[in-house]
Structure formats: structure tokens, C-alpha cells
Amino acid sequence: MNFFFGLQGAAPAVNPQWTTLALVIGWILTIFVGLLAGWILFLIVTGKINLSGLISEPTGQASLSRFQFLVFTFVIALSLFLIIVGGDRPAFPEKIPGGILALLGISGGSYVVAKGIAASTADSDTPQGT
């Protein structure tokens, strides 16, 4: 343990080799994530990743419940990211207020109920004996 933490009672001394390793892995991951993000954006722009049906129902009509779920999910995820990277060092927020969870719950619950209504009407439209 002294190899990692130095003498007892003194501040822990980090082996420089581990720091270098962490730095190298960090750079590799950062470059990989950057390339991946760029590749995803390229595929979206060129149409290989098709977003035209992102808020559409199987019937082909756009769904407002999907749209509002998309908006709130994206906004809350974006807000969480901004808070995490807002400081000098990335850190998860100390607490996530219940209001944010309630917001997600209202949005998601509304989406589920809307889907349930649409599904129940589809079932009731099924002809008898089929």
C-alpha cells in the first residue's frame, strides 16, 4: 500500500506512471469520442441516419406527445451536461431537485398515457373474430 500512498500520516503520493497512464487513456477517449460525435453528425447531415420519423407514429402522423417528451428529455439532459462541465473540474451535481424528476415524470407519463389511448383505440378497431 505504501507503493501507492507513501508514508503513513503524509499526503498520499501518486505514482507519476499512473498519472501518465490516466492522461494517455484520457486523451485516447477524448479523441475517440470527438471522432464518434463528428461521424454521427456527418451521418445525420448526409441522411444516412434518418430523423424524419423521429416524432412520427407508425401511422405516419407526427405525435405531439413524442415531441414534448423529446423536448423535455433533451433539455434536462443538456442542462445536466452544462452543470457537470460548468466548473473547473467535471463533477456531478450534489443533488437533483425533485422538481426536475417531476418534470420528467409528467412528460413521460403523458407520453405513456397518450400511447395507451392510441393503442386501445387500435385494439377496439380490430374486427370481431380476427
Binding site: G26, L54, V71, L78, G86, P90, Q128
Partner: protein, 127 residues
């Protein structure tokens, strides 16, 4: 290490901003299907314009903007935390969703209007 955090932060920020712009652009240019977004939907297809859907769209956008502006204000004040949301926002959202879902139920099941006798006819004829 600080430079690494900075580059990683910039990367993700650029990705999220670009993604937001692309989705917004596709919505506005109708490359993303928005057909029937504000129209009532009935079992036999879309019907007329729905004020209930319009109000939910507006309340959703207002709520999202309120949240983002609260987070941005906190970050500008170096408070890295979610804002405390006003309870009135939840009342507004609940009311808005209630109206939307009520309208959806009514358009499908005719809870508050005349029943569709043709759908209940012995032969099950549809208009």
C-alpha cells in the same frame, strides 16, 4: 489534465449544439415529419385543427425555455446546480397535459359529445 477537460467539454458542447441546430433545422424545413402535429386524430384519420394541442406545444416550449434560462443563470452565477422550479410551472404543465389528454380521449371515444352511431351499427360501418 486541465487542457484535456477543456477539450472534452468543448467537444461535447459542439456536438450538442450541432445536434440541436440540426434537429431544429429539420423541424422548421419539414424534413422531419410534422404532418398532423396540431391536428386532432380520430380512429379514421386526422381531423381539424386542435387548440388543445397548440396550447400544449406552447406550454412545453415555454417550460423548456424557463428551465434552460434558469440553468444558464445559475451557471453564470457560478452555482452549478439545477434551479428551484416554481410550483406554478408544474400546475401549468399538469393542466396543459390534462387538457391535451382529455381532448385526445374525447376525439377517440366521444366522451363529451354525441356517440358515433355508425361505428356502433350492427354492420360496424364507418363514415
Amino acid at each position: 489534465m486541465h487542457r484535456l477537460f477543456l477539450i472534452a467539454r468543448i467537444e461535447i458542447q459542439v456536438f450538442l449544439v450541432a445536434l440541436t441546430l440540426i434537429v431544429g433545422f429539420q423541424l422548421l424545413t419539414r424534413k422531419m415529419n410534422t404532418e398532423g402535429l396540431l391536428f386532432e386524430k380520430k380512429p379514421d384519420g386526422p381531423a381539424g385543427f386542435s387548440p388543445a394541442r397548440l396550447q400544449m406545444l406552447l406550454v412545453t416550449l415555454a417550460g423548456a425555455f424557463y428551465l434552460i434560462s434558469g440553468v444558464t443563470a445559475n451557471i453564470n452565477q457560478s452555482r452549478l446546480e439545477f434551479p428551484d422550479l416554481d410550483n406554478r410551472l408544474f400546475l401549468l404543465l399538469c393542466g396543459s397535459h390534462f387538457v391535451y389528454l382529455g381532448g385526445k380521449l374525447n376525439s377517440f371515444f366521444k366522451l363529451f359529445g354525441k356517440s358515433d352511431t355508425t361505428a356502433n351499427s350492427p354492420k360496424g360501418d364507418k363514415q
